[in-house]
Point group: C2
Chain length 227, copies 2
């Protein structure tokens, strides 16, 4: 469903060049529940951003559902991203002046879903992440872990084909993390492909496949029995 | 060194009242390396914000070094905070238009430290968190875990008496987390009091004391042999 061929993402700062991704060959299959691990700065977020069409490779090809992403128009890309991909950002990226519920409604608003259905589905997504009691709070009236869960609810509400989650349990206690991983596993069994960046082995244990990155390269790629 | 007496922090939203802290009696001693654990929304960040003078209790008393904080003037409070406390925020709070180095220099700038010494000490703090190669990067040119480490460097550069760290390893892989905890332990043995919020038992294992919060209350308080 997602294929990177010799993808490099270079950053140039003055006379220095940094390869956040270095000639990466990578393929994600429908039905993957994939954990991406690796040290701080190894390129995990960059990988996810390229897969999520939020960043373009400096060289190499990215094929999404068989179609080359660099050949799509901006409109096409925006539509594909909204319909196909749900993204949980490492720093949440919530709109600070709208409530948790309104933040979650955003993808459905773009997709033209009618108001009643939009609100019902958003309330449901927030309930699934344990935030029924906090739906009308603004982001600055929420704890760090609650903001993270609003970001997760927003990523899943549109029932996308693929969920890309960057450290979705980074601010969550063990019990809440287990609830979120159970939710991701349930969505996965219902047919969603899930890629999540995590630095915690206990969380990676829920995945069916684990890749490890270092210095912009994929160092290992292992299938396993999910927890 | 820090004492909360029957401290409550209430939030009122319409006709609802939420107690983020609920009649908390708490004391931190010089020489503590304290881990604060608890579920998402249990009040950990609120506790740290009150201890760090970034938030005021709705009722109860806060004594910092024997002095009642509510009786201090705004200037006094700002000076105490700058000189005594180093704070690592759950969401980093870096200035986006200045480099990593300049972000770390900020507490020393407020304290009137001369330029050469300020830059030397800031470069040293960044080296201690493994970011020597990234000193001149802007925050948006850094990975999540690198931004977190800039926030840590900024909190320790002023050699404060107390470090309050809210999930300092939340975005760090295991190896980098171990390096950060070794750094905190080294500062602790040099005489700093360290309070850190964490949801990871492996990180709490480095502490000499662990408190657990739930629904705005301190549920348990246990001394242990640090890892
Ligand atoms: N401005 C506010 N208005 C209303 N409620 C608030 C406000 N700020 C925080 N809260 C609530 O106070 C409670 C405690 O928040 P706090 O940030 O201290 O939790 P926490 O233990 O740090 O959680 P986490 O582990 O998710 O970071 C939460 O339930 C939150 O919704
Ligand atoms: N705009 C930029 N300019 C220069 N370098 C950048 C830029 N953005 C990212 N980098 C560098 O690219 C590397 C990879 O970053 P990335 O965010 O993908 O790491 P990561 O694996 O997600 O790390 P973490 O676990 O800390 O979140 C880092 O070393 C970072 O400093
Ligand atoms: Mg990252
Ligand atoms: Mg918090």
């Amino acid at each position: 469903v997602m294929k990177l061929e010799k993808v490099t993402r270079r950053y140039t700062m003055g006379d220095q060049t940094l390869r956040a991704l270095d000639e990466v060959d990578f393929e994600a299959w429908p039905g993957d529940l994939l954990a991406v691990m690796g040290t701080s700065g190894s390129g995990k977020s960059t990988l996810l951003n390229v897969l999520g069409c939020l960043d373009r490779p400096t060289s190499g090809r990215y094929l999404l559902d068989g179609q080359e992403v660099s050949s799509m128009s901006r409109d096409q890309l925006a539509r594909v991203r909204n319909r196909t991909i749900g993204f949980v950002f490492q720093s949440f990226n919530l709109l600070s002046r709208t409530s948790a519920l309104e933040n979650v409604e955003l993808p459905l608003l773009y997709a033209g879903v009618p108001t009643a259905e939009r609100q019902r589905r958003s309330a449901e997504a927030l309930t699934q992440v344990g935030l029924r009691e906090r739906m009308l709070h603004m982001p600055n009236q929420l704890s760090g872990g609650q903001q993270q869960r609003v970001a997760i609810a927003r990523a899943i509400v549109g029932r996308p084909k693929v969920i890309l989650a960057d450290e979705p349990t980074g601010n969550l206690d063990s019990r809440t993390s287990v609830e979120v991983m159970a939710l991701f596993q349930r969505l996965w069994r219902e047919g969603m492909t899930v890629l999540l960046v995590t630095h915690e082995p206990d969380i990676a244990a829920y995945a069916s496949r684990v890749i490890t990155m270092r210095d912009g390269k994929v160092k290992s790629d292992v299938r396993q029995e999910p927890r």
